[in-house]
Symmetry: C2
Subunit: 207 residues, 2 copies
């Protein structure tokens, strides 16, 4: 349904939405880890109003093409301050959900994604933890907290759980999205269609 | 993947899970609206330990085969006390999520289901509202609140958003479920399989 360049643009718009939510949360600093060339991403973010964010949020971009586990475990192993690891494809995340997540007292807070993912992971003592993003990562992160004797909580958020990686996920974005990425998919003609005869409550179509 | 009698049993076990969560919440009274014969459901609930619930929760069962909107609008039109309308197929609902939902100050609180559904709807002044459960009901309920000038909130809960009506939804039940319905599907050999080569993070299989 989407071309490759549209998928790239959507990914960028979703990143903007997540950065927007972070910039209105209590977080003050963010590091984006990108697998694309750093300068390219910085340019694109500037074009899309990323400069405005800078006023409220310190943003750094780092290019790193290692596997997710390897690179994150490298980062958190050296980190003394609390860290929130949040995915860039959850455009419905709100400042409120981010704040509630990081206000938990537990040492590890896991916000599940659908189908066993971990869409946000808050670590009060990152150097004590080790991430495992493949498989049913939310279960693996719970096991890791238990194994290392760290207190943990599962943070219950529909908006954070909604990662956009399949066509049907755009239903949630069209219904609940108020940000850049929802506006973008509307602008390229992605619409909801209701089919009351089908069991599915809404379908995605391109007009 | 499930036979008709297994689907019926699963529906009953999910109802038990939702009743269990309600019985541990601040709610004190529940009315189950059933489309099956009342006596049959009461018998089944008793067999499944429904008697224990009675100690903590006043449960009534009412048989009503009208359409959901017609019957609910009839009920809320006459209701003076706050009402929570909650679906029976959301077995991950927790006492905490129910309490947080009903503690909102707004007159209308909508907990979305996936694909535009409304999985829980709290009405402080039920007689002032009118439900519309077909189509994108969570958007329709927001519109209704606006039209009637009632304050409203969207309650953000992954566990309440997870209604079980497709095979893939069982993934969430197996990963996060701690109640009757998760135990039931495990007992009939429904398991998770990981396929790290596929994009999907987990698959449902029958062993």
């Amino acid at each position: 349904m989407l071309t490759e360049s549209e998928r790239e643009e959507l990914a960028l718009q979703m990143l903007m939405d997540v950065l927007g939510a972070i910039s209105e949360s209590k977080l003050e600093e963010v590091e984006i880890i990108a697998t694309c060339p750093k300068d390219e991403l910085v340019e694109k973010l500037k074009l899309h109003g990323g400069v405005d964010l800078k006023l409220r949020l310190k943003v750094r971009v780092k290019e790193d093409r290692r596997g997710l586990n390897e690179l994150l475990n490298d980062v958190i192993g050296k980190e003394q301050e609390p860290v929130l690891i949040i995915m860039a494809d959850i455009p419905l995340a709100t400042p409120r959900s981010i704040n509630e997540l990081i206000e938990h007292e537990e040492v590890v807070v896991i916000a599940p994604g659908r189908k066993g993912g971990t869409n946000a992971l808050f670590l009060r003592r990152p150097y004590d933890f080790s991430v495992s993003y493949y498989g049913i990562s939310c279960a693996e992160h719970i096991e890791m907290a238990k194994k290392r004797n760290l207190s943990y909580a599962v943070y219950d958020s529909f908006f954070i759980s909604t990662d956009i990686d399949e066509i049907d996920d755009l239903i949630e974005l069209l219904i609940h999205g108020k940000g850049f990425s929802a506006a973008y998919i509307r602008s390229i003609g992605i619409v909801l269609r209701m089919d009351k005869n089908l069991k599915t409550r809404a379908l995605i179509e391109r007009s």
